[in-house]
Assembly symmetry: C2
DNA sequence: CTGTTAGCGCATTCAC
DNA sequence: GTGAATGCGCTAACAG
């Protein structure tokens, strides 16, 4: 197979009997080219199998169609859902995604932001609002839309889409109290900033209920898993046997708690209430079905892309706009109890 | 804030008192530049905050540091693990990832391959070996390494890393028979090509055991979920009450089966054996722990990047090399039964 | 080890 | 509605 030279705009132009710039226009602003020329160009393109060179386009125009997405980790289930939303939002757009992972290291995040910005992206999506000072400066001076996802709270650098993890966890804790549990505890893994704020919500809720004395909390910086949920629950019961309910940092932990409770013949919800976080699909399928604080990760991703698309179209929200997607407490059997 | 003009190689060169090309070399082949010049360049770069423009680099050199990854879906848990491996493999390399999703549509896949190839990627990773004829042709003529992941079987276009889903499922079915189950069934969702081959492995195993008469199979093209596992199991038990074991297409379904069995007071493993596929972390944490056919998705991702890195370094396997990572049957309590 | 010359493929600007 | 000239920022190929 002969290594065929790259097909360029000029080749298309020659066959279509127009100048290269007309082909360029036909590709980007079809309505500014005569129908006649347009059809000849279309024919030439398909005949040659021409595909524009994004590098040349980027160099000449100073822009790309790439949206940079910077998240802590791809293993975290939460971000898998967000990515689904992002790809859904990308439908029928010329945009592509370049993904970077920080591994929860702020310096890595800053470096990624620097690298991504050097590509003059169409937009940037970053997780959370705990960027380093240097990273914040970079983002503030970025010439593209910047969307901070997952959380709302402090004024956004540009745009923000998420929820208050503090309030969501507060509501979860309140639910346990409302259902009559008297000694709830908090189980947390992968204690990233959002997890920390959930923990704060839990603590403040208990304090507000006059239960601020002890601090029934078991956490670990390790990544979350179902197995870990069981282990943390075992640790908790060893240290604080009177515990009658747990608010889990996420749904994986909650599922692990359920299994461990079954192994120990602890009745759920009778002896132990369980509440997860995120309301992953499996929660409603479990036996008993598990209560959870639902979040809309898919929509976070979808909407963040939509914001960028709106901006590119010259519309969209002004700088500083935040969208609070809220949360929804989904009570299920795992916390259904009438009495203490 | 003044919009400062972009910092270029030339700016760095001026401050460092060298020519632009020397800066360019210092960045790519430090050992071909004198230590003295190198240090002046390093200073100038950090002082100016210079970051190379990847578009200009790509245009001038005809290459990029982007690895294109084309998978069916980001929602599928399996690919989340693969992506983890990919990002792990990327550590300490200048490579980045651009991700595209086909939504299981071959035409979309072909289009993505075309677009990605137009960027002259450092490598391309595609899922499976069921590309359309057009896509195969594109990949065969690609000038970069191409890694087909997830499956091995037919001769690879270039490189392949995966396992035989047929053999893995065959082993799962055989395990159920070995444990004394006499009426196993197959539950499948998201019946993509790999799922189809798993189903074939199940069928052939039963046929080889002289049980080829009926076809105890319930499948759906819907995406897999825990909830769906419960539903498919309910359908199965309605249609074929004598079923005493299920081989599930994946672990989500298996978990759903477990919960549904609990709801119906069907004892696992006594009355019903359950075997999943992939051996996701949660399988060992479940109560009872769930048997599964383990696959190494992380390694698939990690190794595929490693192959590309080796090739870029002028080493690596020749065209046509396939790596079978195999599978491992992990027997657990959910299939532990001594008698029929 | 370093510099010079040239050009990658396209979009911008300004003409017509 | 169309075209000509020019340059984006960098690196290949050569020279020295």
């Amino acid at each position: 197979m002969e290594k065929t030279r790259k097909v360029t705009l000029a080749d298309v132009a020659e066959i279509a009997n127009v100048s290269p710039i007309t082909v360029s226009r036909a590709l980007r602003n079809p309505d500014k080219v005569s129908p006649d020329a347009r059809s000849r160009i279309a024919y030439a393109i398909s005949r040659l199998g021409y595909v524009p060179d994004p590098a040349a386009r980027a160099l000449a125009s100073g822009r790309t169609d790439i949206v940079g997405v910077i998240i802590p980790s791809v293993s975290n289930n939460v971000f898998a859902d967000v990515m689904r939303g992002i790809y859904d939002g990308l439908q029928d757009s010329p945009l592509g995604v370049q993904l970077g992972t920080t591994r929860y290291v702020p310096a890595t995040e800053e470096q990624l932001i620097r690298v991504f910005l050097s590509q003059r992206p169409a937009g940037l999506i970053v997780a959370g609002h705990d960027q380093s000072a240097g990273a914040k400066t970079l983002l503030e001076n970025a010439e593209c839309p910047v969307v901070q996802i997952m959380e709302v709270g402090p004024p956004p650098i540009d745009l923000a889409i998420g929820l208050s993890h503090y309030r969501a966890a507060y509501a979860g804790a309140q639910h346990l109290l409302d259902m009559g549990y008297r000694a709830p505890a908090f189980l947390g893994a992968q204690m990233d900033p959002r997890s920390q704020r959930r923990l704060a919500g839990f603590r403040d809720c208990l304090a507000a209920a006059g239960m601020g004395g002890e601090d029934p909390v078991v956490t670990t910086p390790e990544p979350s898993s179902v197995t870990l949920g069981g282990q943390l629950f075992a640790d908790l019961m060893g240290a604080r046997p009177q515990t009658d309910a747990v608010l889990c940092n996420n749904d994986d932990l909650a599922l692990g708690v359920l299994f461990e409770a079954q192994r120990r013949n602890i009745r759920v919800p009778g002896q132990m209430g369980i509440c997860g976080f995120n309301d992953h699909e499996m929660m409603s399928a479990a036996e008993p079905p598990l209560t959870s604080v639902g979040t809309d990760r898919f929509e976070m991703g979808r909407a963040s892309i939509q914001q960028i698309r709106d901006r590119l179209a010259g519309q969209g929200h002004p700088r500083g706009h935040a969208i609070d997607l809220g949360f929804r407490l989904v009570p299920r059997a795992s916390t259904a109890r009438g009495k203490a």
